[in-house]
């Protein structure tokens, strides 16, 4: 068993530096690598290019990096819910590239799986496809989209072991598995690091080969963005 366990978030983030490209798992605030983000805030790493479906809210998630003006560019599919984001984008401080959500997922998966590019129908005929190569297959048009290239991928799982194996919970899974192994170094933080051999080999979402470093996060706030409930029947 190849050991991927590192002592803490500091060790996990060794090697991050200004102007790098990072991937962040998560959808909204669900399944985001809270501890890695907090450490990046502490480090003050600047000029970051971030690939993440969303951009957090003002005081949580990637919003924390935006507050510190640590991000130069966001590649996302949806970036609402964040005043500071809007201010930086409108002022031109922040570059924003909006891409279809499925394209984002698959450009991660392409990087993970060694594919240089994919043909997707998403965005054909729209400004998203402007300047991009398009091609017809069987009478339908597709856009050529390239695999992402990133320095670090920061993902968050529910459980993991020292071999780097990961298991996710619910919709906190989202982009996290697709980003594992899609960057030069994949850092996984988990809510619970379990002893090697306790995860069922049939039920591992991401085999450890896709993960370079793993650590158990100190705490998880797991903030809910839209609390929708119904009243209990009596």
């Amino acid at each position: 068993m190849i050991n991927k366990k590192v002592a803490n978030v500091q060790e996990a983030l060794e090697g991050v530096s200004d102007n790098m490209t990072f991937m962040f798992g998560g959808f909204g605030l669900s399944g985001i690598p809270e501890n890695s983000i907090a450490e990046l805030v502490r480090l003050g790493t600047k000029g970051l290019k971030c690939i993440s479906n969303n951009a957090g809210v003002d005081d949580f998630g990637l919003g924390l990096l935006l507050q510190g003006k640590q991000i130069d560019k966001m590649t996302s599919s949806y970036v609402g819910e964040n005043d500071e984001f809007e201010r930086q984008m409108l002022s031109g401080e922040l570059e924003v590239e909006l891409i279809p959500q499925g394209t984002l997922a698959e450009r991660c998966r392409a990087a993970q799986a060694g594919f240089p590019a994919i043909y997707t129908p998403a965005g054909y005929g729209t400004e998203v496809a402007e300047g991009k190569e398009t091609r017809e297959f069987d009478g339908k048009m597709y856009v050529l989209e390239y695999a992402f290239k990133a320095d670090f991928a920061f993902v968050k799982a529910w459980k993991g072991d020292a071999a780097g194996n990961l298991v996710f919970k619910g919709t906190a899974r989202n982009f996290n598995p697709n980003m594992c192994g899609a960057a030069k170094i994949t850092v996984a933080e988990v809510e619970e690091l379990v002893p090697v051999g306790t995860l069922d080999p049939n039920q591992i979402h991401i085999p450890g080969i896709f993960v370079k470093r793993i650590f158990q996060g100190e705490t998880y706030e797991k903030r809910i963005e839209q609390r929708t409930v119904r009243a209990k029947a009596n």
Binding site: S30, T120, R173
Partner: protein, 217 residues
Amino acid sequence: MLDKNGIAKRIAKEVQDGYYVNLGIGIPTLVANYVRDDIEVEFQSENGVLGMGPFPFEGEEDADIINAGKQTITTLPGASFFDSATSFSMIRGQHVDLTILGAMEVSEDGDIANWKIPGKMVKGMGGAMDLVASAENIIVAMMHTNRAGASKLLKHCSLPLTGVACVKKVVTNLAVMQVTPNGFKLLERAPGVSVEEIQNATEGHLIIDGDIPEMDL
């Protein structure tokens, strides 16, 4: 004339037994409330869940179980969770039978614009571009006109497109229309709405063929 719930109620009639359905944010979300009880339908949300149920009971919310609108949800027996790439495999691979989403504009060719207003803050297309580029059956739920009273059913969309030639049906507060090679074919009128009112509110080519029945809700 219908309100938002009325539009959702009418669209719910398009949902057939055995359908996997993806609902967009807004009016489409309401459709789930009106689907008949005697058919089996599963709701997919592109953030990675199939088999969504109602909102959780108070105190039972789980930050790890949300829909694409970031709302806390529950799941029904037979549900599954999966990653984003798999979720869009379902969408792109045309395994989802019906997609219902809102729009700012629809053209008579079936083009749709629903993600960007130049000059205004753009939040992004989320999964909408993947959905409209791939889905075989797309129904748009929207008001017939915008707040200024201008038609949202146009000859050509004026806003940046989300997808081209993809919308199959449009259900508005005034009417149900099918998108055909020749334009919007009027199928049904909302209760109390005349063909003339619909015609006046439609900038794109409206095909009026014979008697147009009132909706049966």
